[in-house]
């Protein structure tokens, strides 16, 4: 499929959403097959676009430069005075995002057919999956910032609806609200940033803005402020410090949704945005450094919290936050290739881990690791795929996570200051440790809840199928870094030749460096095994070993409490003042006063209404005569 038909990727799930949302009660199987077929067609069309992008249809002529390939006037004010186009834009970054979004969405949809079976609002769930796919594809295909913002809010809406899918549960409703409001804080920043850019450049088109910025159209301070506002949107959506608090709570949604939205696709929208605007970030080092340190703080912070969390999905959520921090570190160093590469591999192995945890939850109806254990006997496929995903996350050669994390660490060592590298490497080791802990406590050791253990069983093929496919991808997707693999797929030079902003990034395989990385990953796994092997009580003992530290981590650095306190004191205090003003001045004087005035006059003027039709007729007649006389005088 040629690139200029990329809008179909947005249109197909959009139509599916409307169809399934409205008609799901009468469709066979509540329309889930329609959604799966639509997403499968999106995967195929995405592959077509990639083939076209790599020059397959043009005699192998590979042109990594993107193009504004399709557009029509979206908003047209004053006959061309102010036009915003609905245009799609395809380049290396887009291609990576399309493949991630379409494949993971299809896997999740297939998985959900079994996982969500028998749920109330089954059809609505699949409609929401379509809605999310629509918005996410629009987000990554958009060629202008306004359409991007529109899609950005669209994925936020889909995320809100899916986190609160079990809205009967108080915690789910609260979590949905928290996620929406927290990301909204960032979204406002994004909107301000977009408006600031538009105000100077006079266009929403991303490439035109980049050209304008590179031509020196913005003053340095102005651009820094604008890009920091833009980055605020990325911070909210990608759950970076200090707006990361919503993502662990977002695990209240159905597990496949966590895999799709809160691990693989929506949360990387911020990474995508910064990568897309990277040429502009390159012009303002201050903003770029801010990206770097935000990512670093988040990576370290979330990794430490992952060590102590007992909910299997929340461990993965903290891991996601941490890995997103890695990506932002890479972006902060200006290395788009490494960030997008890590995004690409991370999507697959993190989706795999989430779907695996979903399989566990499906089998045992528990998601606290304190109550799991020994499941490897009961669920061999889930265990095997989960271990593959974990090792990919920990960064064991030759799994996907190794290659991308290695790229980021290498970039940190060569381009960044030494403390950045050390902290990042430290959190990579922490990643390995908490991943090992999760695997050990879930699948090894003695079962802690025997009742659940007895009833556990391997999940059906609709669940294990996507797990196996994703495990395969988590194994091989790292190889696209090699030139030879890239040449086979149609883009010689590997991912570094596809995804770049200034010049192609050559992949360097440094034996010593890679060896260090693998060794540290293995060391982390070793520490984890040594500590937690077969002993569930270790978790309790860790609490006794350093109670203050443990409490700090379990309470998520007291950030939620801090936010709550700020809201309680400052926001509610201000709210009370405003409410008092509203009650006394607006309501009692303004509204009631006006009403009483009207009522007072009404009581006295009502006697004008005699109810006698002749009186009304006379009044009307007088009016007519007066008008007639006036008309005569003017004539």
């Amino acid at each position: 499929m040629p690139m200029d038909q990329a809008w179909l990727l947005i249109a197909v799930p959009a139509v599916t959403f409307v169809l399934v949302a409205l008609l799901n009660p009468v469709l066979p199987r509540r329309g889930d097959l329609i959604v799966v077929l639509a997403l499968a067609s999106v995967v195929l069309m995405g592959l077509g676009i990639i083939a076209d992008f790599t020059g397959y249809f043009r005699g192998g002529l590979f042109t990594p430069e993107g193009a504004n390939v399709f557009g029509f006037d979206w908003i047209n004010i004053g006959q061309g005075l102010f036009v915003i186009q609905f245009d799609t834009y395809v380049d290396g970054i887009t291609v990576v995002m399309i493949s991630v979004v379409s494949i993971v969405a299809l896997m999740v949809a297939v998985y959900s057919m079994s996982y969500m079976h028998g749920e109330p609002r089954y059809g609505w769930y699949f409609a929401l999956l379509s809605l999310f796919a629509t918005a996410m594809l629009a987000l990554v295909l958009s060629g202008n910032l306004l359409l991007l913002y529109f899609a950005w809010e669209g994925v936020g809406l889909a995320s809100f609806l899916l986190i609160g899918f079990y809205w009967e549960r108080q915690s789910a409703a609260e979590a949905a609200k928290k996620a929406f409001i927290t990301t909204r804080i960032g979204d406002v920043g994004l909107l301000i940033g977009i408006v600031l850019l538009w105000r100077q450049a006079g266009t929403f088109n991303i490439q035109e803005i980049i050209n304008f910025a590179e031509a020196g159209g913005f003053s340095n301070t102005y651009l820094t402020v604008a890009m920091l506002f833009l980055f605020a949107g990325a911070v909210g959506k990608s759950a970076q410090f200090p707006l990361h608090v919503w993502l662990p709570d977002a695990m209240e949604g159905p597990t496949p949704v966590s895999a799709l939205i809160h691990a693989a696709t929506m949360v990387v929208a911020g990474v995508y945005l910064v990568a897309r605007m990277m040429p502009v970030f390159d012009l303002v080092p201050v903003a770029r450094d801010y990206v770097l340190y935000t990512g670093l703080v988040t990576a370290v912070m979330a990794a430490t919290q992952g060590l102590v969390t007992s909910d299997i999905k929340r461990v993965l959520a903290f891991s996601t936050v941490s890995q997103l921090g890695f990506m932002f570190v890479a972006l902060g160093l200006g290395n788009v290739t490494a960030a997008m590469f890590h995004l690409f591999t991370h999507a697959f192995f993190k989706a795999l881990l989430f779907l695996g945890s979903g399989s566990v939850i499906h089998a045992t109806h528990h998601q606290e690791v304190d109550q799991l254990g020994g499941l490897r006997h009961k669920m061999p496929i889930t265990t095997a795929t989960f271990i593959i995903g974990s090792m990919a996350l920990a960064g064991v050669i030759p799994l996907a996570g190794f290659w991308s994390k290695d790229e980021i660490l290498h970039a940190a060592m060569t381009d960044g200051p030494l403390p950045v590298y050390l902290l990042l490497a430290g959190s990579a080791v922490l990643t390995a440790i908490y991943t090992t802990r999760l695997v050990l406590l879930t699948f090894f050791g003695e079962p802690k809840d025997h009742h659940a253990y007895e009833h556990a069983h391997e999940s059906p093929a609709l669940i294990t199928g996507p797990l196996v496919i994703l495990a395969t991808l988590a194994t091989v997707s790292g190889f696209v870094v090699f030139s030879s693999v890239g040449r086979m797929l149609g883009f010689p030079g590997g991912i570094g030749e596809v995804v770049f902003t200034h010049e192609p990034h050559a992949f360097v395989f440094d034996i010593v460096f890679a060896g260090t990385a693998v060794a540290s990953a293995l060391a982390g796994i070793g520490i984890g095994i040594a500590y937690w092997k077969g002993d569930a009580m270790r978790a309790v003992r860790a609490r006794q070993w350093a109670p203050e530290l443990h409490a700090l981590l379990v309470n998520r650095y007291y950030l939620d409490d801090l936010y709550q306190a700020v809201i309680d004191r400052v926001v509610l205090g201000l709210g009370n003042v405003v409410a008092l003003f509203d009650k006394r001045v607006v309501n009692e004087s303004g509204v009631d006063g006006g009403a009483q005035t009207v009522s007072w006059f009404g009581m006295r003027l009502k006697f004008l209404q005699t109810g006698r039709i002749p009186n009304y007729a006379l009044a009307m007649a007088v009016g007519v005569v007066v008008l007639a006389v006036m008309a005569l005088q003017s004539a």
């Binding site: 009186n615 007649a621 007088v622 005569v625 007639a628 005569l632």
Partner: protein, 217 residues
């Protein structure tokens, strides 16, 4: 002999109703001088025949209209309206629209007059003739006067480029009515039908209402 029979059959003045006699004499006294004046003017050649007829008809119309809106007895009022309508029919003849004159006589002299009479009888309106005029009569007179003056002034102030009137042929009228105004004609017939059905539906005696009324009384 024949003349004697006719004379015998005439009512004697004593047998005539006093009101009728008085009214007839009064009307004759009012109407005769203008009539004589008109005839004299015609004979002297100051006005044409058409103008003489016009003045007569105008007198009938205005007198009828005045009677219709001022007489206390509602039956007299209705009769005055019919007189005005007949005068108007004559006016239409003068304006060379024979068809319209015929329609006016048929509809007003026949239908509307009978309808009004029935209405008067059914509502016993004759029984309380004293309170026929409302309390806002002076205001109404003022407003009506101002409106009349304004209309007259408007009619006279404009400069009408009027040519002579022509006779409207029956054949042309029919062609125009059914060819060019076919749709409005059909709509008008529909309006008549709806009005007929509506009048029946509204004024129909409901059995339930009757029962209630009887039960109440």
């Amino acid at each position: 002999m024949g003349g004697a029979v006719v004379l015998n059959r005439l009512p004697l003045p004593a047998q005539l109703d006093r009101t009728v006699t008085t009214g007839g004499l009064l009307a004759g006294a009012i109407v005769t001088p203008p009539l004589i004046a008109l005839i004299v003017l015609r004979v002297l050649g100051n006005i044409s025949s058409a103008q003489m007829v016009w003045w007569m008809l105008a007198g009938v119309i205005v007198a009828g209209a005045l009677g219709a809106v001022t007489l206390r007895n509602v039956v007299h009022s209705a009769l005055a309206l019919i007189a005005a309508a007949m005068g108007l029919a004559g006016m239409f003849l003068l304006l060379a629209s024979e068809f319209l004159a015929l329609v006016q006589v048929l509809v007003y002299g026949g239908g509307v007059a009978i309808l009004l009479m029935f209405g008067l009888m059914l509502t016993n309106a004759t029984e309380d003739p004293v309170v026929i005029d409302g309390s806002q009569k002076p205001f109404a007179a003022g407003v009506g006067l101002i409106l009349g003056v304004a209309l007259t002034a408007a009619m006279l102030s404009a400069n009408w480029d009027a040519s002579i009137s022509t006779v409207v042929d029956f054949r042309d009228l029919g062609a125009r009515l059914y060819r060019d105004f076919g749709v409005p004609f059909e709509v008008a017939s529909l309006v008549l039908l709806v009005a007929l059905v509506g009048a029946v539906a509204i004024s129909r005696r409901d059995n339930d209402d009757d029962n209630d009324a009887e039960a109440a009384s």
